[in-house]
Amino acid sequence: MDILDYAFMQRALIAALLVGITAPAVGIYLVQRRQALMGDGIGHVAMTGVGLGFLLSASPVWMATAVAVLGSVLMELIRWYGKTRGDIALAMLFYGGMAGGVMFINLAPGGSNANLTSYLFGSLSTVSESDVTAICLLAAFVVLVTLGLRRQLFAVSLDEEFARVTGLPVRALNLLTAVTAAVTVTVAMRVVGLLLVSALMVVPVAAAQQIAKGFATTFVIAVAIGVSVTLGGTVTSYYQDVPPGATIVLLTIAAFLLLTALAAPLARRRVRRQTPGDPAECVVPDSVAATGGAEAEESIPATRRPAGGSGV
């Protein structure tokens, strides 16, 4: 394992591991709320932070965190108060953020779009000591929120209206989700880059859904996929001289395709296991009265599953 002999590879692997955990952990709540592309929007906004970091010669990671958090709060506010023109406001926020980044970085002394590229597409080998410290702190926050408040975030993401009636602070939890997503974007920025962040938030979750039945299992499988692809991509890029960010994203999509292909036969086997010698199928009218039809409809999930799953 000569790969571990280099300090820059150690740092890269730590960063990759943390991104593999945090991105799907936040992404699952975004996907559940059907805001899968929110990470992409935050990524655009974070570019302004990177540009500001260069211009003010401050840490681009912390600057991007500050601006991304601000942007995500703004997006959440637009979601509350904006009615019909919400999407237009969001578009202005996204592209304003992107343009701001390009503008600031070119205003910075000696800055050019080339500096921006490493943030747009990731640059694992240039991850510094201080970057790793920042990534560790931010990742700790993300894990604390996504695991510690999982039941509350699940309830709010599933059904806001119902969550309000259970007395949960719905707005505070929505804001927290947005802020956590923003923090995750900046955690992942150095590894996969701002433009590819969203893929790592969404695709592992979509892949996990193909074979999982519940939220908890989806969460675990998505994080497992996330860690495998980020570590796998980093190692591959070390040996094969390919860009790590792109490798990671392509690996994630490959994982999605693989699990989708596996899901159909899995569901079919589940049907076969249930049907043989199941007399409930033949005495439907009686069992409906007795059990409220629970057994009579036992065969529905398996036959429906592939159709519902591939619609992701």
Binding site: I28, V31, Q32, R33, R34, A36, K83, L149, R150, R151, Q152, F154, A155, S157, L158, D159, E161, F162, A163, R164, V165, T166, G167, L168, V205, Q209, A212, K213, G214, F215, A216, T218, V288, A289, T291, G292, G293, A294, E295, E297, I300, P301, A302, R304, R305, G308
Partner: protein, 255 residues
């Protein structure tokens, strides 16, 4: 003993800038089952959603268990069954996971203890969905999905149930399960506010009907053309009510 559990006085609400409620009065007393009826767009769902705070009111007062809704924090006493729209969220969830989220109002920091897990299981058994506990909600039929949503509301063991069109798109078997579940809750002292399109199989349970039209209360009294049902044997609920506007109520109380 007959404190109103829900009380709306002169409530007005707008969606966009269109007035949907134009000053409605609605009271649900302890142990009472009230149906909110009306055509599509009459404001019945909006009325219920003002009660839970999902739709802001522009005028009027809302009280829950005698507390102004703004200051009401005791949400564990309320079970809510929203109108079923799209099946589930973007991520699969098991029946148990969904029903457990209804228990959060009784937990501290979202930690589920043994009593909480027991309550979730009991709620699932009540609606006959215990065998499906580990299945994905995406795999359920419309009626089964509705039963899960009702189990979620019952998981907190509420004193007041608020249901928005619980029978919409529900198969006959599930309708019967829902009616039985509701009857059991009522016999144990629960109060219920139901939004209904038609009385249907719940008819014998309903003490009073409030009919809305264009955001105004058109009728508040015995359920329309349901008086005969209340005379049938089997309708033996006794519900004490407050004295005010007792006259229209009493006609619906033959128990």
């Amino acid at each position: 003993m007959s404190e109103p559990v829900i009380s709306l006085r002169g409530v007005r609400a707008e969606l966009g800038s269109r007035p949907v409620l134009r000053g409605i009065d609605l009271t649900v007393h302890h142990g009472e089952v009230v149906a909110l009826l009306g055509a599509n767009g009459s404001g019945k769902s909006t009325a219920v959603r003002t009660v839970i705070g999902q739709v802001p009111v522009t005028a009027g007062e809302i009280e829950l268990f005698g507390t102004p809704r703004r200051r009401f924090r005791d949400w564990r006493r309320v079970g809510y069954v929203p109108q079923r729209t799209t099946a589930a969220g973007g991520v699969p969830a098991t029946v148990t996971e969904v029903v457990s989220s209804g228990r959060l109002s009784r937990t501290r920091f979202g930690m589920l203890r043994k009593a909480d897990h027991d309550a979730v299981r009991a709620a699932l058994e009540l609606v006959g969905m215990a065998e499906r506990a580990k299945d994905s909600v995406n795999a359920l039929s419309g009626g089964q999905h509705q039963r899960v949503l009702i189990a979620r509301a019952l998981a907190a063991e509420p004193e007041l149930l608020i249901m928005d069109e619980p029978m919409a798109g529900v198969d006959l078997a599930s309708q019967q399960v829902l009616a039985d579940t509701l009857e059991k809750q009522v016999s144990e002292g629960a109060s219920v506010l139901l939004v209904l399109h038609e009385l249907g199989p719940l008819e014998p349970l309903i003490d009073r009907a409030v009919v809305l039209r264009d955001g105004c209360v058109l009728h508040d009294g015995p359920p329309p053309k349901a008086v005969g049902q209340h005379a049938l044997p089997g309708h033996d609920h006794v519900h004490p009510h407050a004295d005010h506007d007792a006259a229209p109520i009493r006609t619906g109380l033959l128990g």
